[in-house]
Symmetry: D3
Subunit: 131 residues, 6 copies
């Protein structure tokens, strides 16, 4: 396992981000993801800023944002992202049934992806300006 940077040993620039995460999420310590990417402090700062902006208030409600992130994590095959965002989504109201449906959709999408690409399906005229 690569080194995880703990709060007590972290340089000031890392502690500053940890403090922001802990305050924003009201948790006593940051999770392993942050302790890992803190191996490169500028990346820690940038990803936290990105995450806060992208997952913050917007046109989509917080639960929908988590479901979208979860779907992307499943599609990318990212183990840590799937586990952590499943937990976040549950905390925001995702039921077991909703989890099952998200996964069913992502799995179906993987299948249609293979089919659409293999047949090189041309875009129908009314899809050409999409998305």
């Amino acid at each position: 396992m690569p080194k995880l940077i703990q709060y007590d040993e972290a340089p000031d620039e890392v502690r500053a981000v940890y403090d922001e995460i802990k305050a924003a999420r009201n948790i006593p310590d940051v999770t392993n993801f942050w302790k890992a990417i803190a191996n490169h402090p500028p990346t820690l700062r940038r990803i936290w800023d990105d995450m806060r902006e992208v997952m913050g208030p917007g046109a989509l409600d917080p639960l929908t944002k988590e479901l979208v992130f979860l779907a992307a994590a499943m599609a990318h095959g990212c183990e840590y992202c799937t586990a952590s965002h499943a937990a976040s989504a549950k905390a925001k109201g995702m039921s077991r049934e909703m989890l099952g449906e998200v996964l069913a959709i992502v799995a179906l999408s993987a299948q249609t992806h293979v089919l659409a690409d293999t047949w090189r399906v041309p875009l129908d005229p009314f899809y050409e300006r999409q998305p």
Copy 2:
């Protein structure tokens, strides 16, 4: 471009599925995706049955289902799926702002995926039973 199976030349088993799709979606003709996978009639039947079930009524509302499919399509890099499900999502109420947010989340997720995998971030204890 591989052959697209048109209604007039389709065998009965293909026409039967086309008729179901046209009726369910109230459209005069099926889109190219269906005409392509109809090159193997059993696959056409199976995918349509799967799609109808997975995207049908459930715990998630229809717009959320489309947003989840769209997110997965973007994450998989499926051009046709992205275009067609963006159109479906818009028809169900997705605004330009919502589209922008879905894409921002999927792109961010691609980035966290690389980071989490590269550092082999171990699951925190409270993530171990997730999802």
Copy 3:
């Protein structure tokens, strides 16, 4: 489109490989794939040597080798590889029905992949020494 290296303008080391390909396959000119990778002659030489060895006589018969390559090309989402190896497989006896079945299996596999990874399914004891 990046430059394709034609026989007449090719350096000797490239022509030598082109001649081997043309002789081995009994074709008047090499296909675009070879003309593209010839932009880096050592890569052209290495890939041709690899291809000849891997796709040559072995424990699997020639048609099965092409079906396996085609399945991998579909799974990787490689447009050119899918088209070219579908042609090769047809030349070796792949029927339309067989093509449909290969694609159905690859698409199903994409779906089980998402499911197995998302649930982090542990290997059953008798799978632990596999493959």
Copy 4:
């Protein structure tokens, strides 16, 4: 590890699928893959129905079907799928040499994929209608 649904605690709709799998494969208990996806019973039912149809009798013989699934699993990088279908393929006659050749082909395909995509190799005229 997410929860695996055991037979004794499973709801009736899950037990019904487990019984079908056990009967079809003549095994005393289903493998972990099924116990995991049973967390969402409709997905369990759908995947089993899909698997039975796609992997059932057809134009390809049973061993070839397993080799194609195995190739796709390797290409997708699905650990569980690779291990389980390697076991199935061996049970149907795959030798060590055949396994080595399947893997060599999939690995070669990954390499040609990168090359073909990077050079944006245009389809030769006689590939345009493929597959």
Copy 5:
């Protein structure tokens, strides 16, 4: 083709980013990538800020940064990214031979990826703390 946002029709927040890109790169107009992601102005702002920071001065010299980006683009199979960063790398000194070597390495890496994952190769003790 989805809409590309031209300077003349762009809202102020988009024009501000376009101006920064044009000044930083000394070009008369931004490339299509920026005009596309400008469909969601906050994403345009964030990606530009990220790009400027990540690709700016650091421990790696500018050419090496471009080669690393190019390698990642090839590995991800991103057509636009590969073309644009190949151009940037050439502008910073990448020769045809260097391009050929980068691609050869990425293609080889795709092959070792399939092999390492399929065999589930355990990390040797002195790799366990890597990277």
Copy 6:
């Protein structure tokens, strides 16, 4: 864990490759990757020959070659490749800061990949002949 082929039990053709690797790298034993792919001796021979040629002296210096391989390994999500080539790159001079920058670039590239593909960004005229 699949079987790793140890030197003492290896057939002559495998031992010959092991001896070459040990001599070239001045190490007492080959790493697990080689012991795994030795399950199919022709693959062991071919990959070693490919690796030696591709990673050998060329237009790129040895450290840059390792950084490029490392970037591709991160982009592919190959755990073993990332760990082993991070070690090789460090041995050739990669600092912690350089590692952080390589990873930041690859992660950014994953993000631009999703954006460029989703918007189907058309190549600007001066990118059309790239790479």
